[in-house]
């Protein structure tokens, strides 16, 4: 449970650069030599750390999905855990939105990969990722229907997917420097997400 704030291990360097390159040019558009060059070693040296190119993508996608789900579960538990002072479902929804926005703003390449290169995985890995993604969606759907009980489940699920589309649009918002500031962007996205959900709930 330590290892953070340490210098990044070589595996982590590789994963980070691979994520960036995959997001920029697509999984098939990046050669192993380029990934190696991005971390200062060249080509086949990567195979001391990963079984192959596929394994890097698999670890990235499983990691993203797992991290999103774990974070959401934690936020849900924190909300339910505070005995006595129930924050209300609206606050839980806000917390989920906030967590997703943090992820979308801080790990743009991963967000990009997450819904783009899933089909390049081996069957077992793809099933795992899809299962994690589905759990994440269902968790949001549950919270959303606590806030807006009148919304039928299929609509809620569609709404959640659409809001993910909205929040995951950060890669299109220009380079990290051209934004009006991270906090401002986060607040804007948050309000839009709530507004989109509200429009569903008040139907």
């Amino acid at each position: 449970m330590a290892t953070r704030t340490d210098a990044p291990t070589r595996r982590e360097q590789i994963l980070k650069e691979a994520a960036r390159l995959f997001a920029e040019r697509g999984f098939h558009g990046v050669g192993v030599d380029e990934i190696g060059a991005a971390v200062g070693i060249s080509g086949p040296g990567l195979y001391r750390h990963f079984a192959g190119k596929d394994a890097m993508l698999a670890e990235l996608l499983v990691g993203i999905s797992d991290s999103l789900l774990t974070g959401a579960k934690r936020r849900l538990a924190e909300a339910d855990g505070v005995t006595g002072s129930d924050p209300g479902p609206g606050a839980v929804l806000d917390s989920l939105i906030e967590g997703h926005i943090d992820f979308a703003l801080d790990d743009r390449p991963l967000i990009t990969l997450h819904d783009r290169e899933l089909d390049r995985l081996r069957d077992a890995d793809r099933k795992l990722v899809r299962q994690l993604q589905r759990q994440y969606v269902e968790l949001w759907v549950g919270v959303l229907r606590e806030v807006y009980p009148a919304v039928p489940e299929p609509s809620a699920r569609s709404a959640v997917h659409s809001v993910f589309g909205l929040l995951n649009s950060t890669p299109h918002l220009g380079r990290p420097g051209s934004l009006p500031g991270r906090a401002v962007t986060a607040a804007l996205l948050h309000r839009m997400a709530r507004g989109a959900f509200a429009a569903v709930g008040e139907g």
Copy 2:
């Protein structure tokens, strides 16, 4: 201005299948033999219709961007053109949203390609596509700021990009059959888009 309701020409068949395959497996993940097989000819026969694989992608992406922009301009002109009975900026915004939703629901592969494979284009084509996309965005921004004049331009632009993310999420909403019906989905997306914009405007 005829040619529609005719049998699709071979070029059109190829473009349609290529779009589907590119969207499913990525530009680099599809071989020319597969594209050929999808239209009943095999491999190099495609070169009787296109200069190369890149040319197919270019024609697809330019076509999408141009079609989106042209449709939006037409809707804007229709609104401004009705002398006397100005429909109001809100109705124009609704019309833009409706047009984009139609596109997202009817041409899912193209929507997918549109923000995914842009970097695979030659410089000249990429610049053209980006220019068309930019015009499309600015057109939306203008209309949005008529509806919500208090929204500063950078926020409006971010909001437009985010709503595109929302509307373009249709590929994630399950296969075309599993949806609650096209009209229902379209209405849901429309309300969410308006809700998201309203949340920005009422800030």
